[in-house]
Structures are given as C-alpha cells and as structure tokens.
C-alpha cells in the first residue's frame, strides 16, 4: 500500500466518520424529542408550580413555546444550534450565541453554559479514574504475566475478578462509610475545581476514582495479560529467547509493546462509556457533573437540558469510538506487518 493511498484512505475514513457522527447525533436528538413528547409530566405545570391555575399554566406554556407543534419546536432547536437564539428575561432581550442548545425550562439558564459548568466535573472524574485503572490494570496484567503460574498471579487475577463482580454503588458506599466516616482518611468527596486548588481537587476525587478503578481495572488486567501472552507465543520472541535475551526484557519490553494498542483502544472506548455511566457514579458520590444534572433534568422533564446533555455525551462516545477504531486498525497493521 503506498503512503499516498493510505493517507487518502485515512482522509476518506475520517470524512465518513464525521458525517456518520453528525447523522448519529441528529438521530439521537430526534429520538429524545419524541420520547419526551410522549412522556407524561406536564412541563408547563411543573415549571409553573403545583398550585398554578389553568390560565397561568397556559401563559407559561406559551412563553416556553410548548404550544408549537413538535416539528416546529425541533426546527427551532436546530436553528439555535446554527444561528443562536434570542430570549426574553422579562425586562430585556438576551442573545444566546450559536451553538445555542436552548434555555432550561426550569432554571432559565442557557443549556450551553450549564453544560460547560458541569463538564469539568465529569471530565475530572472520568479522566482521573481512567488514569488510575490503567495503572492498576496494566500493572496487574504485567505482574501476572511476569509471575505467571505462581501464587501471585492467582491472587491478582482473583482480586481483579472480584472487582468486576461488585457494583459501583456498593463499593462506593462502603468505601465512603469506612474510609471517610470511620477511618477519616479521606474527606467526603466534594468537588473542588482544579483551578482553585489542585491538591484538594485530587484529594476529594481520590475515593470516586478508586471505586471506579477497582471495578474497571480487572478488564484491563485481563486484556493486558492476554495480549502479552499472545506476543510471547510468537516466533520472534522465541528467537529472542534463543539469543539469550533476559525474561525481564522480553516481558517488560516486547510483550508489553504488543499490549499497548488494544489497551489504549479499550481505554478510548471506555472513555465514551464512562461519560454515559457517570450518571451512577455522580449520583452515588454527589458530584455535580453532567450525569447527575441529567437525571435531575429527566425528572423535571426539562427537555432542552436533556437533549443538550445527551448530545454532548453522545458526541464523546462517537469520538471515542472513532479513536478506538483507528487505534485498532493501527494495532492490526502492526500484527500483519510483524
């Protein structure tokens, strides 16, 4: 395959992925619009308050454009993304710049700003936990290959397996009660922005990171171990051995190299998944991120917030999957070439 052709292929691949991603996201937004249109829960009544009169509910419905037909509301939503939107605060008219995801029904906040405010929390949680589980997972995997067949391997595989079998909300709560409440080693998690105090940021998030990492590390340990064993079984490794290359170097360098691509690809894929799964962790630890806000928005039928946040999560899932795909393609080529 010539370099030019490969590049061309890659460009074509990228363009197709981008178009695919846009179509996917549009489809998601349509589904959410329809689902929430059908869902019970009178938005105007919820926004207006329980004791509002029918006339007041009508006024609120009008002000939120809830009387418009579904397709028109969706069209306005698309317009907002491309061209921005004007809205009234009662005393003045404000402009919400493109890409404007609309205004929360419940709090009158711009959804775009709401998301920007919550995103750092979710990122902190997911990226931190991922770093930790990569360290623990890959470390365990390498160690279990290094000590394969010995008691260490059995203990390590057992522990990581036990991690997979425990739901995050059990681990999280028990850790929180024991570590924060009884032993008082760590503070009860409370989000401190990184910019404000990096040390407190990490200190507070350590427990959520650990809980997630304990659960996820197992899969990485298993993947690392299997990829390494596979490499070890390859001919060239046998050749190295024959030439007297030390076991430490073989495991640490050559075998580990074989595990890099699949592990990174799995991590990219999990990054997307964790964004969606943050709902559970954030609710569990009371971290004010996208996931928890989303559950709240669903409960109060706050459609603009739900659509906005699901799109953002979907965006990361799509991008992460694309990255994972590319990495796997790269990984495969390496296999073929070798």
């Amino acid at each position: 395959m010539s370099a030019a052709k490969a590049l061309d292929g890659l460009a074509g691949f990228a363009v197709r992925r981008v178009i695919g991603a846009v179509v996917t996201l549009l489809a998601i937004s349509v589904i959410i619009y329809v689902v929430f249109y059908v869902a019970p829960g009178d938005v105007a009544q919820i926004t207006c308050g329980p004791r509002c009169s029918p006339a007041q509910v009508q006024q609120v419905a009008g002000q939120l454009h809830l009387d418009d037909p579904l397709h028109l509301r969706y069209w306005h939503f698309l317009q907002g993304i491309l061209a921005g939107q004007d809205f009234s605060t009662g005393t003045s008219v404000q402009h919400c710049d493109a890409p404007c995801l609309g205004l929360s029904y419940q709090s009158d906040q711009q959804v775009t700003q709401l998301i920007l405010a919550k995103l750092p929390v979710t990122f902190s949680l997911v990226l931190g936990a991922m770093t930790l589980w990569l360290l623990i997972g890959v470390g365990t995997g390498v160690l279990s290959v290094w000590r394969r067949g010995r008691i260490t391997e059995r203990v390590l595989t057992g522990v990581t397996l036990a991690g997979t079998a425990t739901p995050v909300f059990v681990i999280g709560l028990v850790l929180m009660i024991v570590v924060c409440g009884q032993l008082q080693w760590l503070p009860f998690p409370q989000y401190v922005p990184f910019a404000e105090d990096p040390e407190q940021w990490a200190w507070n998030l350590l427990l959520p990171w650990l809980s997630l990492a304990l659960i996820e590390a197992a899969r990485y340990a298993r993947l690392t171990r299997s990829s390494m064993l596979e490499t070890l079984a390859e001919d060239h490794v046998r050749t190295f051995r024959a030439y007297g290359v030390g076991e430490r170097s073989i495991v640490g360098r050559h075998a580990l190299r074989g595990a890099v691509a699949p592990v990174v690809a799995l991590a990219a894929n999990d990054f997307g998944g964790s964004m969606g799964g943050a709902v559970l962790t954030e609710t569990m630890f009371g971290l004010p991120g996208i996931g928890r806000e989303l559950v709240h928005a669903v409960n109060v039928v706050d459609l603009p917030v739900v659509v906005g946040m699901v799109l953002v999560i979907g965006f990361f899932v799509v991008v992460a999957n694309a990255v994972a795909d590319v990495l796997f393609a790269v990984a495969d080529r390496r296999v073929v070439l070798s």
Binding site: G41, P50, Q56, Q63, G90, Q106, G181
Partner: protein, 578 residues
C-alpha cells in the same frame, strides 16, 4: 410541582416536602416539637458568639432564588436571610414560633371591618444592601412581578385574593401596567384590596413575594443570581445556579429594625447537591468546617436514626421538630366501590398504623394521625377518631362493614401510589397498607406511577383514581390553607390541577370556610377550623395515616438552636457558631 432531583435516596431529603422542593428548601425545620421539650443542645447558656462561618450542607440546590418564584412557608430558611417581608414568623421554639410577627412593617397589618382591606406601614430607616431606602412601591413591585409567567412558581393566594389578580399578567407586559388593588399612598404605606374577607392575610405576608424589589435593579429571570438584599446577608457568590451560595453581611441591615433575625455568623456558605446519606455522615463526623454545619433540607432517615440513638454524643446534636403535615389515603367517591361510604369506612378501620409508621421510619419519625389537621395548636387541632382502628387495625369491624355494603366475599381494589422511593406516597407505605388490608379480606393491587405521572394523574379531575396515597403540607400554620384547597367545593378545578380530590361541594362546609375567613382573631379562627375538620372527617373522604416528625443533625460547634412549630426545623437566622 417543582420537583426535586435524583429520585432515589431522597429518603431524608424528601420527607420534608410539602409540595415543592422550593417549599422544602425554604421551610426550615425546627426542633422541639410539643413533646420533647426543648432543644437545649449545645446550649442556651452564655450569650451566643458573633462571627465565624456557618456551613449549610444541602441536598437540593437553591435553584430558585428569586423572591417571586420561591414557594415557602413563612419566608423560608436561607431565603429569609436575604429577603425581609412585611410580616414574618416568630423565631421561637415550639408553639410560640407558630405565630406571625411584624418584619418590615410596624405591625402585622390593620384590617378594615370585614377584613377585605389590609393596611401596612413600613418601619423607618429600612435600607437595601446598597444603602438606598426601601419603599412601599418596591413591595408593590415585588408582588406584581410574581404574576409574570417568566417568574411563576409561588403560592396561589395573591392571584386568588387580590382584586384583579386572576387576570393580571405582571409588569413586563402592557408597558409596566401595575395592579390597582395594591395602593401606595406614600413611601411607607401600602394598602391591599381583597375581593373577599381574608383574616389570615398577615400569614400570607410572610411569603417571599412580599419582599421589596427595586424596579431599577430588576433583571427579570436573571434577578435570582444576585437579588438585592433587604436582610442581614447579601449574596456574595452564586455558583452554578444555586449549587453554592455564599452569603456575607449586609452592612446596611440594622438589628434595630429587625427583632427576629439574630444573624450571629459573619458568613454563610451553602453547599448543595450532596447526597442525603453523605450529609448525615458528614454532620455526624463533624470534622473541620463541618463542625459548624447544619442542613436545611435533610432529615435523619430510619437507618441513620438507629445509629444515632445508640450514641449519646450524636443524640445530643439532633434537633427534633414538627411541621404541619399530614399523610393520608384519599378516595375519589365518583369511582366505584368508593362511592359507598361503608367501603371507605371499612378501609379506615382496616388500616394498620403501626406498619405504616414503621414503613415511614418508625415511631420516632412519624406519629399516628386520625385527624386531617396536623396535631398542633395553631391549626386548631381537635382530636377525633371517627373510625377507631387502634394501633394495628380492626379487620373484624372492617369485614362487618363490607358485609353491610354487599361485599361479604371480600373485595379487590387498586391503590395508586407514586414510585418515588422513600417518599410518603411511595411504594413502602402502599405495600404496608396492602398487607394490612389483606386481613380484612380486601385484596389490594398496587399501581405505581412515576413521580410526574403520579401528580398529573391524581390532580386531574378526569383521571383521578379511586384510591390513592396523598399528603398535604401547611403553607402557614393554620387550618385555612390546609382545609380550604382540599374541601372547599368552589376550589374544584375541572381543567387543571385539582386538589379537592374528594369532590366535596357541600354548602354548609363552604359557608363555614367563608365565615372563618372573616375572623381576624386567629385563635378564634383556629378553634373553628378544628371543629370543621372534625365534621368533615365523618365523611371518610380521607383516611389520615401519620404526621411526620423531623429529626436533623447539626455540627458540634452549633449553638442557639431554635426550632419552631411553623417550620419544624432549625432556624438558620438564630444559629451561632462557636
């Protein structure tokens, strides 16, 4: 209703809720209800210390911080630190605290002869956080803007009581047209014209809609980010739509004009969005800043209570209070077989209140109810038990009534409840009832609805089920806002949210409600509400189940704990930090 966030584990947080989260957040809690006499925890010893930072750990963010949008009982807890109102609740322990007292005004209001015109005079020297003077026109404007669709959310009374209120759409429409039924003849006087007698107007004037808003500073829906303070504290920071609220002293507030708020701490740091169980864990650990922490929305749940009762130190840091609140079974007499009073009575006899109370958290967190009105003096509590079921039900009597009604072979009915976990209308209470009614030969099928669906269904005259769980909380501690929305035949709403779920439209009841509303002697009115409650109770349109008791932890360094019967929770304006 403005509903609260993540449905689960609101075990503690939710228990407070009357209708709206806003109300919850607002309503505080109070310790010491009637029976456990008094919270002296921490100490009423020496003069409380002034200064320091008070931390508030909450589950629900203060998303609404606009006085027009808040639905509070008595002006709320945190909001009351920033918003002064014409009148306010008396900041005293127990029953004394259920009284209404003057705040911005010099008295609780001067009615005309038939209580249709109410006149207030503002105290002298009242100032906003920027030093400018508070005028009666600002109070009028504050009320007017609460009519705008953009700022909806408050209680319905202004709309229902003020002349022209039903059609008024707020000052943002029609070039700032005002509401003519509020007059401000001079800067310190304000006069309200009502379309019918309302002796309880002074109670209404405690709500945040009666806080002054300077027209020039009004920014509509954005006002809540930094509302102009008239109280002892002003908003220094409002992050993420009320998730964190930092309040600092308003130097223009003068204690000389405010007899109610003590305002001991220099700074108040409200952090919300915390899981209820974490809040209670933190308060019990009471480390660092948490030692000077309280919560204004999270009660102790049963599991936590079990732990607290075994620990003397923790037990000394629990504030106990009673907020006027009733959980009950509601019937729709238009649906068979509940059209037959005998069937309703049979269910009333069959109820096992011990099981129900256990499901609601045990005898420390709920008291059995046989009256619709809460068991407090200010409501005019008049004990009665028309269908005595004892502690665990009287299935024999229930069977006998069913036989008379023609169901000697038993009966199968559907009980509708909310799926919200640990909420008073939730599955736990429903299953407890299901189990108890089985003994009386009544097979109960459960129909659980998701939260929003539940409130839509139950409060729509067209879809209302025959047999469901309901609850009602006090907008202020009196029989009026408790009985009128539920039993006044003229409040039946056919095409919107209806709360008269028993569709009672009885002239004698309606007339008595009108007669009591004319009374301006609130003690006399309370007695009459109590008597009316007893009379309505005979119809068995509801089966009262229990009144909740609020128990909340506070940190080691918290002093001067005051818990009134109005809010049932610790009053944040009285707290001092060691």
């Amino acid at each position: 209703m403005r509903h609260s966030p993540p449905s689960r584990r609101a075990r503690s947080a939710r228990r407070t809720a009357a209708w709206s989260v806003s109300l919850i957040v607002a309503a505080g809690a109070a310790a010491c209800g009637p029976e456990d006499n008094d919270a002296k925890p921490g100490g009423s010893d020496a003069a409380p210390h002034k200064g320091g930072t008070l931390t508030v750990l909450n589950s629900d963010p203060q998303q609404d911080f606009d006085p027009a949008r808040l639905y509070t009982s008595g002006g709320g807890n945190v909001p009351s630190l920033v918003f002064r109102t014409l009148t306010t609740r008396n900041r005293e322990n127990g029953a004394e605290g259920a009284k209404v007292v003057p705040d911005l005004a010099t008295d609780t209001g001067r009615p005309n002869k038939d209580a249709t015109v109410w006149t207030y005079t503002l105290k002298e020297g009242l100032k906003y956080e920027d030093g400018s003077a508070i005028t009666s026109a600002d109070i009028k404007y504050g009320i007017e803007r609460s009519f705008a669709a953009e700022l909806s959310g408050g209680a319905p009374y202004l709309r229902d009581w003020l002349i022209g209120g039903a059609d008024y759409q707020g000052p943002y429409k029609d070039k700032g047209k005002g509401l003519d039924s509020i007059e401000t003849p001079d800067e310190r006087t304000i006069v309200f014209h009502l379309d019918k007698p309302e002796g309880e107007f002074p109670y209404l004037a405690t709500q945040t809609q009666f806080a002054p808003v300077p027209r020039a500073k009004d920014t509509g829906t954005e006002y809540e980010e930094h509302p102009v303070s008239s109280g002892p504290y002003k908003v220094a920071e409002n992050q993420n739509d009320g998730e964190r609220l930092v309040l600092e002293r308003n130097t223009y507030w003068s204690a000389a004009t405010d007899a109610e708020r003590k305002a001991y701490p220099d700074r108040i740091d409200v952090r919300s969005g915390i899981d209820p169980s974490v809040i209670n864990q933190r308060l019990s650990a009471s480390q660092g800043a948490d030692a000077a922490a309280v919560t204004t929305d999270t009660n102790l749940g049963p599991a936590e209570l079990a732990k607290v009762t075994g620990d003397k130190e923790l037990a000394s840091r629990v504030g106990t209070g009673h907020f006027g609140y009733t959980n009950y079974i509601a019937f729709n007499p238009k649906v068979k077989p509940f059209d037959d009073p005998k069937v309703r009575q049979a269910i009333a006899y069959a109820v096992d209140r011990t099981s129900v109370i256990n499901a609601a958290g045990g005898s420390a967190l709920a008291e059995p109810a046989t009256t619709y009105l809460p068991n407090q003096k200010s409501f005019g509590y008049t004990p009665y038990d028309h269908f005595p079921a004892g502690a665990s039900g009287d299935p024999a009597k229930a069977k006998e009534l069913l036989k008379q009604a023609g169901y000697e072979n038993g009966l199968t009915v559907t009980l509708t409840h909310s799926n919200a976990q640990d909420f008073e209308t939730g599955p736990e209470i429903a299953t407890a009832l299901q189990d108890a009614l089985k003994k009386a030969g009544i097979t109960v099928k459960l129909q659980g609805l998701e939260d929003n669906d539940y409130s839509d269904t139950v409060h729509d005259a067209k879809t209302e089920p025959g047999f469901f769980l309901a609850h009602w909380g006090a907008d202020w501690p009196s029989g009026g806002p408790f009985l009128a929305p539920i039993f006044d035949g003229r409040q039946i709403v056919e095409d919107g949210a209806n709360f008269n779920t028993g569709f009672l439209n009885d002239k004698s009841v309606n007339d008595e409600i009108d007669a009591i509303n004319k009374l301006t002697d609130l003690d006399e009115a309370a007695k009459r509400w109590g008597a009316l409650d007893k009379k309505i109770g005979e119809r068995a349109l509801t089966v009262p189940l229990f009144h909740p008791v609020y128990k909340r932890l506070y940190g080691k360094d918290i002093r001067n704990v005051v818990i009134s019967d109005w809010t049932g929770v610790l009053d944040i304006s009285q707290v001092a930090v060691e």
